[in-house]
């Protein structure tokens, strides 16, 4: 059984079919054999009947002779004549005939050889078959008939191969006669012989048919299995689009449907997985870029702090000396005062740059606490309000009522707004149309936690793509020499980073620029009290 289980399904089916069909075939053969036996018996019975009939005729003639008072041990002449008539009327097959002979083989009644002894006759194998009959017949029990088969070649019929003859005989004791009837087997079995002509090829054909059917059927049944197996192998090789086309309805149809559903699931899951890997890769790329940026900023911060410190001393000395000089020169010397004023402005600008550099590098002085966003924003607006008015800039301040408190440092956040407002102001300097700065804040979500999204949108000319790529880098500026240090947005970026926030810029062509800052906020509870006045 275990060996059977190891066979391929096809082979197993073939074996099963063979196991069922071969016994059927055997039964068929058996049936044919027994049918043939029946037919043979029936055919032989005809010969037996003739012999029996002959016996009865002999018996009734003898009885008649006995009643007539004739001796019972021998037939009368009229009996012989009558029997000759009767025998002549028998037709046995086409060439067969009945005859009577004495126990010593002398023919009593025979169509051709009456009166002659055929005791020494031999069949084509040389067997003295008549002698055998003569010996056997008297020994037969009452009512029993004997049978003998022998090959016979009839010279009268022109030779040819010997054919089997069958002979039935019976012993008629009162007269010491052997009553016999015989014929060629083929004539006796006539119909049977013709039937066999078809039966054997039919049986052979059915054997072949069974074999072919068995193989074909097992192939046909296992075809869906092969298709499923091929599809599964293809799927395993990564052909995720591979599906199985099988007619629905049977078990294989159901299996195919389940397989297709599974394949689709795998395809979708794989796509989803690929998408997520891509997403994560992109996130990592962005995170790494941010990390590199903040590391660059930190290294630069250290450098800048050193530079600022080094410039500070000579700057202070210079400013101090200018002060002393200006005082000593007196207000009367206008020309000198004008020149000293130029120097003083030089120092002022250097001072501003140094101050910016220090802001840029000032990263450790940062202590976040929950504060209302309005605190740093309104401080920045207080400082820049007059400037905005001077530049005819309309300000829209739209803070949502339910803003949570942001986690931040009010001073550095104020710096962020100062820088962004100053940038917006500069951006709109040459705008001839309406100059509008819209500052809007709404609750948001950042990295799964609460946050505040602040956006500053101006109606300036917008920011070209190539500038957007570089504008957070230190010392990158688009402003005229002396007006910008190129550190403003870099400082903004650093501060937002420090707050674990995000900053992004949108600048659709012709629609100004919008800076959007996301700042982490205090989780539920501390909301900003509504405060909706525009400074």
């Amino acid at each position: 059984v275990s060996r059977f289980r190891k066979l391929r399904v096809r082979t197993r089916l073939a074996v099963t079919f063979a196991a069922v069909l071969l016994p059927l075939l055997a039964a068929e053969l058996l049936a044919i054999w027994s049918f043939r036996r029946g037919l043979t018996d029936a055919a032989e019975l005809e010969l037996t009947n003739i012999v029996d009939h002959l016996y009865r005729v002999c018996a009734s003639q003898r009885e008649r002779a006995r009643r007539a008072g004739a001796p019972a041990d021998r037939p009368r002449a009229e009996d012989l004549a009558y029997l000759r008539d009767v025998l002549g009327s028998f037709q046995v097959g086409r060439t067969g005939y009945a005859y009577v002979m004495e126990a010593d083989g002398t023919l009593v009644i025979h169509p051709v050889l009456a009166g002659r002894s055929i005791r020494d006759s031999r069949d084509s194998d040389g067997v003295r078959f008549i002698e055998r009959i003569c010996e056997d017949a008297p020994r037969l029990a009452a009512g029993e008939s004997g049978t003998i088969r022998y090959p016979w070649q009839d010279e009268a019929e022109g030779g040819g191969a010997p054919r089997m003859k069958i002979l039935k005989y019976r012993w008629f004791a009162p007269w010491g006669w052997i009553l016999a009837a015989g014929s060629y087997e083929e004539e006796v079995y006539g119909a049977l012989g013709r039937a066999e002509l078809y039966v054997l090829p039919l049986v052979l054909a059915s054997v072949v048919l069974v074999a072919v059917l068995t193989l074909a059927l097992s192939r046909w049944i296992t075809r869906p299995l092969r298709e499923l197996s091929d599809a599964a192998a293809a799927l395993a090789e990564g052909q995720l689009e591979r599906r199985v086309e099988l007619p629905a309805g049977d078990e294989f149809g159901g299996l195919a449907r389940a397989f297709n559903a599974m394949a689709e699931q795998i395809r979708l899951k794989t796509l989803e997985l690929e998408r997520r890997v891509e997403e994560r890769t992109e996130e990592l790329r962005v995170a790494q870029a941010r990390l590199v940026q903040s590391m660059k900023l930190r290294a630069l911060g250290d450098l800048v702090a050193g530079v600022a410190h080094e410039i500070n001393n000579p700057l202070m000395a210079s400013t101090t000396m200018l002060h002393v000089l200006a005082r000593e020169a007196g207000v009367d010397d206008a020309a000198l005062q004008r020149r000293l004023e130029v120097l003083r402005r030089c120092n002022e600008r250097i001072g501003r740059i140094v101050s910016h550099l220090r802001d840029f590098s000032r990263q450790s002085e940062f202590e976040p606490r929950p504060i209302p966003l309005a605190l740093p924003l309104d401080n920045a607006l207080l400082i820049t309000g007059q400037q905005l008015l001077n530049h005819q800039i309309e300000l829209h301040r739209e803070l949502a009522d339910d803003l949570p408190r942001v986690l931040g440092d009010p001073n550095t956040l104020e710096q962020v707004f100062l820088n962004l407002i100053a940038n917006a102001r500069d951006a709109m300097e040459r705008v001839t149309g309406p100059r509008i700065l819209t500052i809007r804040a709404v609750p948001a979500v950042l990295d799964g936690g609460p946050a505040v999204a602040v956006s500053l949108a101006d109606s300036g000319p917008g920011i070209p793509e190539e500038v957007r790529e570089k504008m957070f880098e230190p010392f990158f500026t688009t402003k005229d020499v002396g007006r910008g240090t190129g550190l403003g947005l870099s400082i903004v970026y650093g501060i937002v980073e420090q707050h674990c926030g995000r900053i992004e810029v949108e600048s659709p062509p012709g629609q100004g620029a919008t800076f959007r800052i996301l700042l982490p906020a205090q989780p539920a509870g501390g909301t900003e009290p509504p405060k909706e006045q525009t400074p």
Binding site: A308, H309, N312, N313, P314, L315, M316, A317, S318, T319, T320, M321, H323, V324, R327, E328, G351, V354, R358, S364, E365
Partner: protein
């Protein structure tokens, strides 16, 4: 009587400019280019105020401040610390070392003179 101010700073340019500024404002000025020289100067000659830089080689401003406070003559001497460092922590450290006032560089000359005036006014009372 001219008030006497001792300026301790390792930067020669700062030293020179402060000397000029304070002198032009009517103070008598002594200078020292490092902490050790400053301490020596303070011990040699009494002064009414010390302008002290924080970042210096050798003894830094905090060390000098503490050392000055240890001198009996200087226990109540006004000490104004002047530094490019403005961090709150430095400010606290300076005040803990005994500084009277902590000012951040760069400072406008008028502002510095005003601060000095205020310190004198406060200590006078």
């Amino acid at each position: 009587v001219k008030r006497r101010i001792l300026v301790i700073d390792d930067d020669e340019l700062v030293l020179l400019s402060l000397e000029e500024l304070l002198a032009s404002a009517g103070y008598e000025v002594a200078t020292a280019a490092d902490g050790r020289a400053g301490l020596a100067a303070a011990g040699r000659q009494t002064c009414d105020l010390v302008l002290l830089d924080v970042v210096m080689p050798g003894l830094n401003g905090f060390d000098v401040c503490r050392a000055l406070r240890a001198l009996p003559a200087c226990r109540h001497l006004p000490i104004v610390m002047l530094t490019a460092k403005s961090a709150q922590q430095d400010r606290e450290q300076g005040l803990a070392a005994g500084a009277t006032l902590f000012l951040a560089k760069p400072i406008q000359p008028e502002q510095l003179l005003e601060m000095i005036r205020l310190v004198f006014a406060a200590t006078a009372t």
